[in-house]
């Protein structure tokens, strides 16, 4: 086994996996192509016969330059994700440089540490299946690399220590570090055990690591596009992936599948609260109004209210099949009336916003499929029955937006370009129904104003800078006038709220792609979308979408590649990954703990039952109560003692047979030999402890002769012992008790002579 060659290969493999993981986390193949090429070339050329390496000053200069660039980048973009990306790029550059550096153990160690940091950076940025698979592969590759590095470094350290110990002008003798038989097999075994144990232990730590509820539709850190909150400052989390998130089959009231003439929007989360300090939209009091519904595999639809059960008119059905997306959110196109699932699960309904969430109900992972009955335009009675916590229609003065500048913009825009003849406050006071008209007209105006050409759709938010008192909505409206759907929706909701119209942002998916073969809408991750719902009546919210849909769909189409046609192969794996791993949160932790507790209790009960059964059987067999138990215990104890004594005697016999070359003897003869020639074994032990052990290849008499250099007395004593042994082993002499005592005296004499050191 050439340790150096294997070390180089394994470290290179680990580096490439780390670069691939980072590249996948950034969705930027060029990182892998460029850095990978440089790294492979460096490992190949610097490790080759010519050993082309960079001079030390060039390595140091490159590393310092990389660090300086990274520091500047972090200062320029202080966001956590940008900083992590900058650190990752610096580390990737460091790996490239170190690939061209010299090869001493500390260099190998540095390269591996850099690769680990790169992997951590990738994991920090993304929890995607591909990134996860690469990180796990890196961890598996790191095990043999670290093992080979230890072998290599240990040998090098000892060689260096030997060189340092050589006196001046002398040459150290060439010494080999021994390598036992089948070393590669042994290493594979240790590597396998290490990798399997490591993964097992890491899963235990992973399961008990304290975490909170994820609830973001794909696990923390995963970029799936959809999120139940909107952070306007972190624009980098918009996904442009064409991976299929889910497919939906839409059945009309006659249960016929079909396609709508308009894009289909699937509501996931409703965001009605804006935090101007963090520029974050979230749902207010979401879990305080929840009502639970339990589904069974063959239980059919579970109605969300008694009134909904009786509703028959214009009820549509959607069948959702999750593909790569694993979310606790239940996506619904319209107002849900009933839900069905092929698993025993508990779903929760927010009784104000009609959001549906999966609560689990003793199951790990996320639902893979479900069906929902719904109505596009529900009556007030239905809405009242399903959503009893709906708030009353507010007056214009009760609605507002917490950023004053947005109010100024809304007032200015409405004054300059707004619809004419808007109902005034006095008119509304006389006729409250005019509030609805006013709300509709204002919402429609802002929708057309935002999508009308003055604003441009873009996923590049690098121009947005977070400063003291800055708000991204204001920057969007006032300065940049470009952004993605979250900014468009946020801006419209903010303008409406600032104008006294109740509005909220909704996140979910939008799709226009329809598969006519399977009669299903195809929702891709790039179809994650945000739009606005405006309250136009006591129980009616209207959907407005200010994003320029044509540009949005064009960007989605541009990202498609021929590889997308094969993504379905990985969908089940990705769904399992997202459902079980990326989406593992506090709720799943609790369920896992419950299951473990139940399993432990069941195992304890099973063991106790078996013990009781065995006890009862023994009682029935002996029919003597405690006396019988005592008798069994005494017999078992005696048998154990006899077995122990036999084992000790057998071990002693084996040792004697091995030392005296009598391996072919039977067990009884071995025990007898151990008893008769025990003094010789004792003498060997004495020699061993004195540092003059007899090598296996040297005959006993020759060793006795060698002992003369150490001690003449010891030599004579050992020679006498050997002659006695020969008489027993080959002369058939059975030693008497006196002869054994004499032999023991000789051993004592040998011990004394060796303890005295060098004697003549």
């Amino acid at each position: 086994m050439n340790v150096g060659t294997w070390l180089s290969r394994s470290v290179l493999a680990a580096c490439m996996l780390a670069l691939a993981a980072f590249s996948a986390s950034q969705a930027d193949a060029w990182v892998l192509v460029v850095a990978g090429s440089v790294t492979v070339a460096g490992f190949t050329l610097s490790g080759g016969p010519r050993g082309l390496v960079l001079p030390a000053w060039a390595v140091r200069l490159s590393v310092l330059g990389g660090i300086a660039w990274g520091a500047l980048e972090v200062f320029a973009r202080p966001g956590a994700e940008d900083a992590a990306r900058a650190v990752g790029l610096v580390v990737a550059a460091g790996i490239c440089v170190k690939a061209w550096d010299r090869r001493v153990p500390s260099d190998w160690r540095q390269v591996l540490v850099l690769a680990m940091v790169l992997c951590a950076s990738a994991a920090l940025h993304s929890s995607d299946f591909l990134v996860g698979a690469l990180v796990i592969a890196f961890a598996a590759a790191l095990v043999p690399a670290a093992m080979l590095l230890q072998l290599h470094a240990g040998g090098e350290a000892v060689a260096a220590a030997r060189r340092a110990a050589v006196p001046a002008g002398r040459r150290a003798p060439a010494l080999e570090s021994p390598l036992g038989a089948a070393s590669a097999r042994g290493m594979r075994r240790v590597a396998t055990v290490g990798a399997v144990s490591g993964i097992g232990m890491s899963l235990v730590v992973f399961a008990v690591f304290p975490r909170e509820l994820a609830g973001d539709g794909g696990g923390r850190g995963r970029v799936s596009g959809f999120r139940p909150t909107i952070d306007l400052w972190s624009g980098g989390r918009i996904s442009q992936s064409s991976r299929v998130a889910m497919t939906v089959r839409l059945l009309d009231p006659q249960d016929r599948p079909g396609e709508l003439t308009m894009p289909l929007r699937m509501r996931g989360a409703v965001l009605d609260s804006y935090d101007p300090a963090e520029a974050r939209w979230s749902g207010s009091g979401r879990f305080s109004r929840i009502r639970r519904f339990r589904t069974e595999p063959s239980g059919g639809f579970e109605p969300l209210s008694q009134r909904a059960r009786e509703e028959r008119s214009n009820v549509w059905t959607q069948e959702v099949q999750m593909r790569s997306l694993a979310s606790d959110r239940v996506f619904s196109a319209w107002m849900p009336l009933a839900i069905a699932c092929d698993e025993t699960r508990i779903f929760g309904l927010d009784r104000r916003t009609a959001e549906l969430v999966d609560i689990g109900g003793g199951r790990l992972g996320r639902p893979g499929s479900y069906r929902i009955r719904m109505q596009a335009f529900p009556s007030a009675a239905i809405v009242q029955a399903v959503l009893p916590s709906s708030t009353p229609f507010p007056a214009a003065g009760d609605v507002g937006f917490p950023v004053p500048r947005v109010g100024e913009i809304a007032a200015r825009v409405l004054a300059e370009q707004g619809p004419e003849n808007l109902p005034t406050d006095a008119e509304i006071a006389e006729d409250p129904s005019l509030r609805r008209t006013r709300a509709r007209r204002i919402a429609a105006f802002f929708e057309s104003w935002l999508s009308g050409g003055g604003f441009r759709y873009s996923t590049d938010l690098s121009a947005y800078r977070r400063g003291e008192g800055d708000d991204p909505i204001v920057q969007f409206l006032d300065v940049h006038r470009a952004g993605h759907c979250e900014l468009f929706a946020s801006a419209m909701a903010a303008l409406c709220l600032a104008s006294g119209v109740e509005a909220r942002v909704v996140t979910g998916f939008i799709a226009t792609e329809y598969d006519g073969v399977s009669d299903r809408y195809v929702f891709r991750e790039s179809g994650a979308h945000a739009w606005v719902e405006v309250r136009v009546d006591e129980f009616q919210w209207m959907t407005f979408d200010p994003s320029p849909l044509a540009e949005l769909l064009a960007i989605q189409q541009a990202n498609r590649t021929w590889l997308d046609g094969f993504r379905w192969i990985l969908d089940p794996v990705e769904f399992t990954w997202n459902s079980r791993f990326a989406g593992f949160d506090a709720r799943a932790q609790a369920e896992l703990a419950d299951r473990a507790g139940e399993a432990t209790r069941a195992a304890q009960a099973w063991l106790a039952a078996r013990a009781r059964d065995a006890s009862a059987q023994a009682e029935r067999f002996f029919m003597q109560g405690a006396v019988g138990v005592a008798w069994v215990a005494s017999v078992a104890g005696t048998l154990a003692a006899v077995g122990g004594i036999l084992a000790v005697l057998a071990a002693r016999g084996r040792r004697a047979a091995s030392a005296l070359g009598a391996r072919r003897m039977g067990p009884v003869a071995r025990i007898a030999l151990a008893r008769d020639a025990g003094f010789y074994l004792e003498a060997l032990l004495v020699l061993d402890r004195a540092g003059v052990a007899k090598p296996a290849w040297r005959t006993p008499l020759a060793h006795a002769h060698e002992l003369r250099l150490r001690s003449l007395d010891a030599s004579e004593a050992f020679e006498a012992i050997v002659r006695r042994l020969y008489a027993i082993r080959f002369g058939g002499v059975r030693p008497t008790r006196g002869a054994r005592r004499e032999a023991d005296d000789l051993v004592a004499e040998l011990r004394r002579a060796l303890a005295d050191g060098y004697t003549r």
Partner: protein, 374 residues
Amino acid sequence: MRRRYHVRAPGVLYLLLVLAVGFVAANRPGNLLVWVFAAMLSGVLLSGILSGWPLMRLRVRRRVPATGVVGEPLVLRYEVSQGSRAWSAFAVSVRELRVGPHGAAPAPAFVRHVGPRETVVAESVAWPARRGALRFGPFRAETAFPFGLIGKSVRFDDEAECLVLPRARALRPGVLRELAGEGRAGAASRPRIGPGSDFLGLREYRPGDSIRSVAWRRSSAGGELAVIERSMDAPPRVGVVLDLRRPTGALRVEGGPSRARELEEDAIVLAASLLQAAASEGMETSLAVLGLPGPAAGARAGRRQLERELCALAALDLDAPRDASAMVAELGARTSVIVVHVDRADLSVGGPASAHLVAGQLRAMSVDSEDGAR
């Protein structure tokens, strides 16, 4: 055997890295990052377990050579046996913990791999600096395999001893012949049959005898073939007397006791060099040490005799009380006596025909320098 765990410097750095990742994972919870943290933490635990496991049934026996030579590499061998039936041990280094007196600890021996139920021999080199008994104390087998983060060591409380012989130097050509000549009585012969030149006797011819050994005149007179038997030549005999009767403190030496002790060591080296030179020329040698307990064997030739004499010189304890009245026993009529003194010659020792040397002449008489370079 005592087992211990050691956290190494890379392990400390790694732990800091794990803590940093754990901190980030706790503040920006992404499940993949949490798993990375968990895997890194498992690496620490595994490093301790996997480095300790193979050492559970590891046995190491030290094999110290009986003798070594000052300034020459002394190869220590360690028989490393893995008693486990399933587990190999990798990257095991064996390190001496205490070597003394006058001995620098040798560089550790290194075993790259020892398989299950297998024994391999690892080597390390010590460079003895002083003559005398070199004692080896406990030693330690340690490994940080597989990850180098946490190491495990097993200490073996074993004692061993090696006798370090003085380093005999090569003398200038002809020096020994000048001092010893061909022996006081010149070349002699022994009363044994051999290939010498002196007449020993006649006997009947036996098939296989050389035609050259036939005594033709006697054969023609007696009518039967007779052959001449010749004696065996006896090699010249040299007796080296080392005069150590005066205690170290009583020597007339400038530079204090340390310089006096150096001169005594030089005298021992000079005696060893004379004995080696004589043995290499086929002479019979004998050694007598005045003032300290020493050997009392007769003159013999050969490697074993030289070994015995060098061992006796190596075992001399200069701190032992000296016997100022010790005299040289009769060394035989044909023995050339060379007396080696420490600080000054005492011509009363060894008889009138003996040659006298002092330790200070060592450098002038030897070809190679102290470190062995010629």
